[in-house]
């Protein structure tokens, strides 16, 4: 019974999501839902990164890579036309299993491709495997070595998506079809589906929050927090720090991949710009601002900052804003902006007496 209490914030958040919808509908501004939906998917990455950075104490400067893995996998599998192999037994088998999808693209061409469900599962699997492969050697490293290794990973993913013909090279992959979920629900960006996609995105975010809260308040979560506080102490207590950190890494990679996959269906396309170092840095900046170990803060900042950025509010100063936020938060409020009592006040910046 005690455990249910941790989910109250999720219910409150769900209620607020509905309230927001009503407010937007009443003021005639439901088109804001477009940017909110896109931001919610970016927030998924941020939630996973928050678990990794705040609770497991690991930095990742390459998380945009996992977002790209999720997005590109699903894009390739759902746009690749299997029409030429229509007659082969393998394709026939897949068809009978319901794993393929026949659809018409915007030019009226018939395309036979893998169904989004299959593609989604493949994307998750691939992300998990790659996270495992990268994490195994890299989680052992400390501090800036880990940062460099994750940066290197992110760069490799960027080079791959930029260079591979199958992945569209510099233009990326467009014409990604809608993802048909249960009932009449579809993940796509068209205007008539705007409201349902708003709720689908928030459902994904809140589900991720539930998962994360569950994790934090479990034995695993407590182990993680103890690792973050002091790794040696945790180790001395018999906690297998390595395994827990690796597991968190893989979980955060999965969150990012889900965000990437769903946003690709929503946008109908993906490009190499989603895999750049700057994107990874932005995710880190958002986690830092929201509070390293503050899931709600990270999620909120993820939605808010991305929303403002996508609407062009920052104008041509987009990157500068994120950079300035990074510096400002790290110097003034290292615990994040949403832990109000622990702010360092500006007076602390005044010259101090030299230490004795």
């Amino acid at each position: 019974m005690m455990r249910l209490r941790i989910y109250y914030p999720v219910l409150a958040a769900a209620a607020l999501v509905v309230v927001l919808h009503v407010a937007l509908a009443a003021s005639g501004k439901t088109y804001y839902m477009t940017q909110i939906t896109m931001s919610a998917y970016y927030a998924l990455v941020v939630i996973g990164l928050c678990l990794l950075m705040g609770y497991a104490g690991q930095i990742s400067l390459g998380h945009a890579g996992f977002f790209a893995i999720g997005g590109y996998t699903i894009a390739v599998l759902t746009t690749y036309d299997l029409g030429n192999w229509r007659e082969t037994p393998a394709i026939g088998l897949l068809r009978s299993l319901g794993l393929l999808m026949q659809w018409q693209d915007m030019y009226g061409r018939d395309i036979l491709s893998f169904s989004p469900w299959l593609a989604f599962a493949a994307a998750m699997l691939l992300a998990a495997l790659i996270a495992l492969a990268i994490g195994l050697p890299v989680i052992r490293l400390k501090g800036h070595y880990l940062a460099m290794a994750t940066l290197g990973f992110g760069l490799i993913i960027y080079r791959i998506v930029l260079g591979a013909r199958l992945l569209g090279q510099a233009d990326g992959i467009s014409n990604v079809p809608a993802f048909g979920l249960v009932g009449g629900l579809q993940v796509n960006g068209r205007a008539p589906f705007r409201v349902q996609n708003y709720y689908i995105a928030w459902f994904a975010v809140l589900a991720a929050m539930v998962l994360s809260l569950n994790l934090i308040h479990s034995r695993v979560g407590r182990a993680l927090r103890s690792i973050h506080q002091s790794e040696e102490a945790a180790h001395s207590l018999g906690i297998d720090t390595y395994r827990y950190k690796l597991a968190t890494f893989i979980l955060s990679a999965l969150f990012a991949a889900v965000g990437g996959a769903l946003l690709t269906h929503y946008n109908g396309s993906i490009g190499p710009s989603e895999a750049t170092v700057m994107k990874s840095v932005r995710y880190v900046a958002i986690v830092a601002v929201g509070g390293m170990a503050n899931l709600w803060g990270a999620m909120l900042m993820g939605v808010l900052l991305n929303f403002l950025s996508l609407r062009g509010v920052f104008g041509s100063f987009d990157d500068a804003v994120f950079g300035a936020i990074l510096i400002g938060v790290m110097i003034l409020a290292p615990q994040g902006l949403l832990q109000v009592p622990r702010w360092r006040t500006a007076t602390a910046l005044l010259p101090r007496r030299k230490r004795a």
Partner: protein, 296 residues
């Protein structure tokens, strides 16, 4: 491949390698003294080059370069005083994030001061079409300038660290900050000095390569990543090893291009980085105990 072609590739590799090496040396100076990885190191090169280009419109080239180096050195000091010094009880994570933020802000400021156009300094000797022949290979005379200036920087730094009091004080800080403090070294000033030094040599390097690579406001980040790779390759904190590692990486890239499609060049560098991090994080030339770098 005939000998002349081989030499051509080698010279190409040595040229880029020496640029990487200088960036890595800049990293090492700051890292040694403070333990901070300065992600904004690449930006120092670009600021130096851009400032020199602007000054060169009103002053003769040597004066412009000198002025640029001085201005960038001051910038390095300002960066350290305003941002780094404010951070107390900084974890590695926080410092990394701050320098990343700094590199972004510096880049954006440069964009607004100098806009997005590509510029370059005039060649120090000769023009865009001059060429010098060495062992059958042809290079621009500017390449010799790059190699020469790199060598001079490395030599000067070695002398500085070995034979001057300030240099030795910085090394003391790098070895053990508390002990250096106890010996009367002003460690905070050493930190500022390390930033100034890194910024200064970065600016000089930026100026000398500008005619070859041209200069654009966003060239700092790729340079920093390469320089970082080289620094880790040689072993963080070891400047001589950084030079060797830089030349190694430059040559590797050049010869990868000779046999594989050139798009593999970048991947080769990153793969080398990852291999080093996984198998020998202390670097190719390190002698220190590796276990200190592992977490668990």
């Amino acid at each position: 491949m005939d000998f002349a072609l081989f030499v051509q590739y080698a010279l190409s590799g040595i040229t880029v390698g020496s640029v990487y090496a200088i960036v890595a040396i800049g990293f090492n100076i700051i890292y040694c003294t403070t333990g901070i990885i300065n992600f904004a190191q690449g930006e120092f090169l670009i600021v130096g080059a851009m400032t020199a280009i602007s000054l060169a419109e009103v002053a003769p080239l040597p004066v412009a370069i000198l002025g640029a180096v001085l201005i960038t050195t001051t910038l390095g000091a300002v960066v350290e005083l305003v941002f780094i010094r404010q951070v107390r009880n900084a974890s590695v994570l926080r410092l990394i994030i701050i320098t990343i933020g700094l590199s972004i802000v510096m880049r954006e400021v440069m964009l607004h001061i100098w806009d997005e156009q590509v510029r370059s300094l005039p060649y120090f000797t000769g023009t865009e079409v001059s060429t010098v022949t060495i062992l059958g290979a042809h290079i621009s005379p500017q390449v010799l300038w790059v190699l020469g200036v790199s060598a001079v920087i490395v030599a000067a730094l070695t002398l500085f660290f070995r034979y001057t009091t300030t240099g030795r004080a910085m090394r003391a800080c790098a070895d053990d900050r508390m002990a250096a403090c106890l010996c009367g070294v002003n460690d905070r000033w050493m930190v500022t000095l390390s930033f100034m030094l890194s910024a200064g040599i970065g600016a000089l390097a930026g100026c000398v390569v500008s005619p070859i690579t041209q200069t654009q406001y966003d060239m700092g980040a790729p340079l920093a990543i390469k320089g970082f790779t080289v620094a880790i390759l040689g072993g963080m904190g070891n400047s001589m090893a950084a030079v060797a590692a830089g030349l190694f990486l430059g040559l590797l890239e050049a010869f990868v291009v000779s046999v594989l499609p050139s798009s593999y060049k970048e991947v080769a560098a990153i793969v080398v980085l990852l291999l080093i991090l996984v198998f020998r994080p202390s670097g190719l030339f390190a002698r220190r105990d590796v276990s200190a770098l592992r977490a668990a």
